[in-house]
């Protein structure tokens, strides 16, 4: 389709093909956007208006009352804090380990590389529940039950293998000759890695960060299995408190849900490019 065709949208000529295209695109947008819009809108309604019938599909009568109640009257701040600590911890752990591994795997001769690559990809297929049961047993013996560190390690089992795979691929895109020329000038291996290879593989580091973020921030299964004490509950597990016990607290639930999706939404809007780049390696959530 040429530039000219595009400009005809609001002009007089619209082909059947274009009409179909716009209708489908609008339909797709509504199906994917409306549910999220509805969650956010509901969270901004007066607590008394949230379950109004018929439902108000649009209103300007908005308030932050649900959020105020959520933050002052529930354990939400603690859950949020725990989620932030676990997610940041796992991002730090996964980035540092996968960057080191990715560099070594690209630049050094290491036996069994092919099997290692296959092992990383096999691990990528693992569902969280596969390791959840043994983790529960092991953590019970070594005292990592109900600790944030335990959850970080459990999450890293999902993010480290694939993070390493991403970094391995990205370091390959940085030509060895760039590093070699710095060695000629007397730079050490450490220096050429930090000053040449790392900046070259930077999009990979961002992709790993986003991937790891989504593993930890989204995880329900592992945190649910490995914590029983309220003090170490994370956001995804804590939110269920609002849904169980007979009645659903929709005000708290929609407000907490909105705050839960806010960080990933910001990522989509600001790091769109990196998300798509990292995606070509095989996606983020499974």
């Amino acid at each position: 389709m040429s530039e000219q065709d595009e400009n005809r949208l609001f002009g007089s000529v619209l082909t059947v093909h274009q009409v179909v295209l716009y209708v489908l695109a609008a339909l797709v947008s509504v199906i994917f956007a409306f549910p999220v819009y509805w969650l956010i809108l509901s969270s901004l309604k007066e607590p008394s208006a949230i379950r109004s019938w018929p439902p108000m599909l649009f209103t300007l009568d908005l308030t932050l009352e649900n959020f105020r109640l959520l933050i002052t009257d529930t354990n939400f701040p603690r859950w949020f804090r725990n989620s932030v600590i676990i997610t940041s911890g796992n991002i730090l752990l996964t980035i540092s380990l996968s960057t080191a591994a990715g560099y070594a795997l690209t630049r050094y001769e290491i036996p069994q590389k092919k099997n290692l690559a296959r092992m990383l990809l096999l691990t990528y297929m693992f569902p969280p529940i596969l390791l959840g049961i043994p983790y529960f047993v092991v953590f019970d013996f070594i005292g990592l039950q109900n600790t944030l560190l335990g959850i970080i390690l459990a999450h890293a089992s999902l993010s480290l293998p694939f993070g390493t795979w991403i970094m391995w691929q990205f370091f390959q895109t940085v030509p060895i000759s760039w590093e070699e020329s710095s060695w000629v000038c007397g730079a050490s291996r450490l220096r050429s890695m930090i000053e040449i290879a790392l900046p070259g593989a930077f999009p990979g580091i961002v992709a790993v960060a986003i991937f790891t973020f989504s593993v930890s921030w989204n995880d329900f299964t592992l945190a649910f299995m490995l914590t029983t004490e309220p003090s170490v509950r994370v956001l995804t597990v804590g939110i269920r408190d609002f849904m169980t016990g007979g009645r659903v607290l929709w005000g708290d639930l929609t407000a907490a849900g909105t705050l839960l999706i806010l960080p990933p939404m910001l990522l989509v809007f600001f790091l769109n490019k990196y998300i798509l780049e990292g995606f070509s390696m095989g996606g983020f959530d499974r």
Binding site: M1, Q18, A104, L105, K114, L130, F220, M243, L253, V268
Partner: protein
Amino acid sequence: MSEQINIFDRLKRIGKNTVRIDRDQLFGISLLSPPILIFFLITVIPLSIGIGLSFYGGLGLLALNFTGAENYQALINDGAFWQSLISGITFAVYAVVIQMVLGVAIALVINEKFRFSNIVRTIVLVPYLIPTVAVAIIWEWLLNNNYGVINFILSETIGTTVNFFSVSTAIHTLSWVASWKFTIFVVLLVLARLQSIDSSLYEMAEVNGANFYQRFIDVTLPNLRTTLAIVLLLRSIWMFNKFDIIYLLTQGGPFDATLTQTVLAYNRAFIDLQFGSGAAITTVMFTGILITSIIYFGVFSPEEEVSTRE
């Protein structure tokens, strides 16, 4: 790759005290050892413990005792286990078909250039990146019997409401809600492949009088074949092993209608405290993953995306 240094060879020689290891190899070793060590600690060892655990019986963690293959023998005679496999396969096949068909369709639409196409591409990414827990909240809210928007629309248009979480409807609800989130996985991988198809192929087909449908069959589909096969394989294994969305929306109910093997494994371990029995079910799942991965590696050689020369 002459600039690479074979760590393994050098290590052997160090053992024989013939060559002093130089600083560069030491650097490589110190880079790779921590990640490998941690990978074994947090992935390989727990996996092995899980397999080992499946040979233990007893209630709770303190009463664990070795019972050999008893857990597996019990599973073979366990109607609930076979029923859960059927539920798991039903959910996986249903959801993967939705995701593949709609994924290709949506990719074809947003592959076209039109005004707002960038906005549409951003919108479709949103459900994919938001947590499954949020997806569950959103759809429980939309599909609620008493004040859900969907039932409001249904009662206004066709004059009746639907219970989306009944014995007969729950599996449909789960499959569609899961697809709302995961269809984008298919869309993005198909989209990437579509954009790499040589546009002259389409021009040639057009010159020869092929219409939109014929161009799809003759040009698009053959080029998508490998991508679709890989996506099909990955999505199948992931949907078959899904736990969170099912547990959050139905907990396997109502009346076990959506009790897949993942939920059964959870119940056995964490509700009945039969950790060995739960581990036996996840070990069966692991066997499935292993077989799938053999097909994956054998047919598609995904490991060749990295240079594995030693």
